[in-house]
């Protein structure tokens, strides 16, 4: 354990307000791709155990890159991440990963897809099947265990992706715009399911999205990122009570946060589509 907390990262308060030992720390991280594109630069943050953290930013701001570094798929070019004290750890069973497009293997049925991480944990075929069976029930996928991904809707595919991550029961969940490719209704339903699964689980979630609504509805704290090269620009606390439900979306606090965050990232979003010259502000409203 590297112990000392440097204080170079944004304030580290748990939802309960107590200062604790962060489970994930990112310290002055930089990643430059071989082609010379700088995805991240001077990116720092700290996450307390059990927090639901949102990384919010415009497309191409490096938030997915950051998640890949946390997962161990990518190594940073400078700086480091510490997961439970381990520096730049390789992929491991302490972190579950949910991919944007579910990332199911099309030649395996639902059972086998959910069991991908379980077999790596050294479980027997039978033990793995028991766990995947339970996950299937939890995700409302009863009867679909022997179906192949192409036989499922997009929403069901992503439920399998989430089930695969929960199956290894990791303390940390890394989620890379998991609902971004779904239609609006399915997306809302899966967000509510996510809340239901997570609340009371004690798991730490780091959730990447570019949707402000999703960020506020799900998160404890929102780390707003700058456009590329990405770093943390601001940390916004979401003080909405839990358990959250559909009603949460209509509270004044929710709407106020929505407006605040949109004001914050609007400029970046405009630049991303190539519009929004200074002075033309508000033209879209």
């Amino acid at each position: 354990m590297t112990g000392e907390f440097q204080g170079t990262t944004p304030s580290v308060m748990t939802p309960g307000g107590a200062m604790g030992q962060p489970i994930v720390e990112i310290d002055n991280l930089a990643l430059t791709y071989p082609g010379g594109v700088s995805a991240l630069q001077g990116c720092s943050l700290a996450v307390q155990p059990g927090e639901f953290i949102i990384l919010l930013g415009p497309s191409g701001c490096g938030k997915s890159t950051l998640l890949q570094i946390l997962s161990g798929l990518l190594r940073p070019t400078a700086g480091e991440v510490r997961v439970a004290g381990r520096v730049n750890p390789p992929p491991g069973k302490d972190r579950g990963f949910v991919f944007q497009h579910a990332g199911l293997l099309p030649w395996f049925d639902v059972y086998t897809n959910i069991e991908i991480g379980l077999r790596a944990k050294g479980l027997s075929k039978r033990e793995a099947r028991e766990i995947s069976e339970r996950q299937i029930r939890l995700m409302g996928l009863d009867g679909f265990g022997t179906k192949f991904p192409h036989q499922l809707s997009g929403g069901m595919q992503q439920r399998v992706g989430v089930a695969r991550a929960f199956a290894i029961d990791p303390p940390i969940l890394l989620m890379d715009e998991p609902f971004g490719a779904l239609d609006a209704q399915t997306r809302v339903l899966l967000q509510e399911e996510m809340i239901r699964l997570w609340e009371g689980s004690g798991k730490t979630v780091i959730f990447v999205t570019h949707s402000i609504e999703e960020a506020i509805f799900l998160g404890d704290r929102i780390f707003v990122m700058t456009s590329r090269p990405g770093r943390i620009r601001e940390v916004v606390d979401v003080n909405l009570p839990r358990p959250r439900s559909e009603k949460t979306r209509y509270t004044p606090e929710y709407l106020a946060l929505d407006a605040k965050l949109w004001a914050m990232i609007r400029g970046d979003a405009e630049r991303a589509i190539g519009g929004g010259t200074p002075g033309s502000g508000g033209a879209v409203e």
């Binding site: 997962s71 161990g72 798929l73 992929p91 491991g92 069973k93 972190r95 990963f97 991919f99 497009h101 990332g103 293997l105 099309p106 030649w107 395996f108 991908i116 991480g117 790596a120 944990k121 179906k147 192949f148 991904p149 192409h150 036989q151 695969r164 290894i168």
Partner: protein, 252 residues
């Protein structure tokens, strides 16, 4: 169904025209009538001499073809996955590939003799390349996302190869297998026409020497049937093995 009907009608018309032309031309030793050809085919099959030759030819073709597959798939995987293998083994194979296999038949005979070895070796050599090249392409076209999934869930290279690459390359491999089956057949004819004492190709050669043109046709028809059957068998095999990408909406 409609396609089958149209095909049958077209064939009937073609055979009728052939029959008419042959009757008008009236030189059966050059252009026999289709009726005479089918009569020859039936009697050759019934007497068993065509089947005996077919058996010999089939044995050669299969031996060469299977040998090619057993070598080409691992070679394609290894060179497709590891750069070092591609820069060494892969480079050598790339240099051999453009050499027309038929040009190597004399060398094969000098080295391996007139027996089975040279024939099987030539068929294997020529069938090798398209299975190899397609397997390699399949390995290189693996979706990186699927590899990431395995890695992020703690699976090593062996699992990536056996649980991802092996499956995702299959459609490519089958393309290679079907193409190679056609090549194997071409080489079979070639090695049996050049210095063989038996087999369908030898029967073909002999029938031509004795001006038995209906027999020539019957051998050609059997070769054609072999190619047709090989393709059908491989397609059926492919459908069985690649169930996961079957028709969208087969289940709803």
């Amino acid at each position: 169904m409609r396609r089958v009907r149209r095909t049958l009608i077209t064939l009937t018309v073609l055979f009728a025209l052939w029959q008419l032309a042959a009757v008008l031309y009236d030189k059966a030793y050059i252009l026999p009538t289709p009726v005479a050809v089918f009569a020859a085919l039936v009697s050759n099959l019934a007497e068993g001499k065509l089947l005996a030759q077919l058996q010999i030819s089939l044995g050669r073709a299969l031996a060469g073809y299977l040998l090619a597959i057993v070598l080409a798939i691992p070679a394609g995987v290894i060179t497709g996955w590891w750069k070092l293998a591609n820069d060494t083994l892969g480079s050598v194979l790339e240099l051999l590939r453009p050499v027309p296999a038929l040009a190597l038949i004399p060398l094969a005979i000098v080295w391996l003799g007139f027996g089975e070895a040279s024939k099987v070796a030539m068929i294997a050599y020529a069938s090798f390349f398209s299975v190899y090249v397609n397997t390699q392409a399949g390995v290189r076209n693996v979706d990186p996302l699927h590899i990431q999934v395995m890695r992020v869930y703690g699976r090593g290279t062996w699992d990536v190869l056996t649980k991802v690459v092996l499956y995702s390359m299959l459609p490519y491999v089958f393309t290679g297998l079907r193409y190679s089956a056609a090549v194997a057949l071409i080489l079979l004819v070639a090695v049996e026409l050049v210095g063989s004492q038996n087999g369908l190709g030898f029967f073909l050669f002999q029938s031509q020497a004795f001006l038995q043109v209906p027999d020539v046709f019957s051998a050609i028809l059997v070769f054609g049937a072999m190619g047709f059957a090989a393709n059908l068998i491989l397609l059926a095999f492919e459908r069985r093995m690649i169930r996961w990408r079957q028709e969208v909406g087969s289940d709803a």
